[in-house]
Symmetry: C2
Subunit: 143 residues, 2 copies
DNA sequence: TATTGTTATACTCTATAACTATA
DNA sequence: TATAGTTATAGAGTATAACAATA
């Protein structure tokens, strides 16, 4: 068994790798999205709009304030990519992709997946090894 | 061999896991650092100051503009954690931790490593499996 | 009275451009 | 002329607080 200092050093190194990978993924995402003519935050929103969604739910998913969603929705509407639909509860507005938005989302989604580091750099076997480790890393924390 | 759609779906899922893990790591870092009374960006800078370092080098390491380092250095000096030392090239200033800064850095570094997801959630064997996969993910891109 | 979304505003982080001093 | 760090300022991104409509 490795000593305390060795374990801590390895912990630091792995953490740094994870951070670097996430940063690289962010850069890749921006580069992948750029040809679609969308700012990153609009692209993220579009990818979440699999189906019409209450604006408040989007705020939860994007981990941002609801007031920020108002701005995103305005920009998506300006571009003709989404529209606000009335919800059953009349306080709620559903944000839904237009046909143009759905088409764009489809192309965007494939491009992002194809350019992902995990697909470009790892073999199928390696990905199968990686997946359970990442899932374990992300288990809900019960400290 | 899996079909195209399956591969893309797996790519999306793994990418999302990596993003979620990085976000969790960011939250953990902030929580770990909070008791030390430091904003996150100052903590990151202190952790990089293993030895006295030209301010420009810090800008490279933190991937930010040199003008931003000026502000960080000011705040570290205000707190008595670092000081500017003259370099051999008299245009260069070396940022160096004070005794107080070095002591704080030591505690900070251990706390961050101990609280890291990779240490809390994975066994030694799992970490050994994960490391080479992460390294491969991060190889310099030569597209 | 509580909740959804909107509006107007303010704040945080970081970069840009012009500057000083050295090289 | 080029480089290291500084200064003042500006911009992007996001949150806060007060508000209107609805529950």
């Amino acid at each position: 068994m490795a000593g305390r200092e060795e374990r801590l050093a390895e912990s630091r190194r792995l953490s740094q790798l994870l951070i670097d990978i996430a940063n690289q993924a962010k850069v890749d995402f921006a580069e992948t999205v750029a040809p679609f003519g969308l700012p990153v935050h609009l692209a993220r929103a579009i990818l979440m709009l699999d189906s019409p969604s209450p604006m408040g739910d989007l705020a939860d998913q994007l981990a941002c304030d609801p007031s920020y969603i108002t701005g995103l929705a305005d920009k998506l509407e300006d571009r003709g990519l989404a529209e606000r639909l009335p919800g059953e509860d009349r306080r709620v507005k559903l944000l839904a992709l237009t046909q143009a938005g759905a088409t764009l989302r489809s192309g965007l989604s494939d491009a992002v997946a194809e350019n992902a580091l995990v697909l470009r750099r790892l073999t199928e076997t390696e990905r199968a090894t990686l997946a359970p480790l990442l899932e374990k890393l992300l288990d809900i924390d019960t400290r």
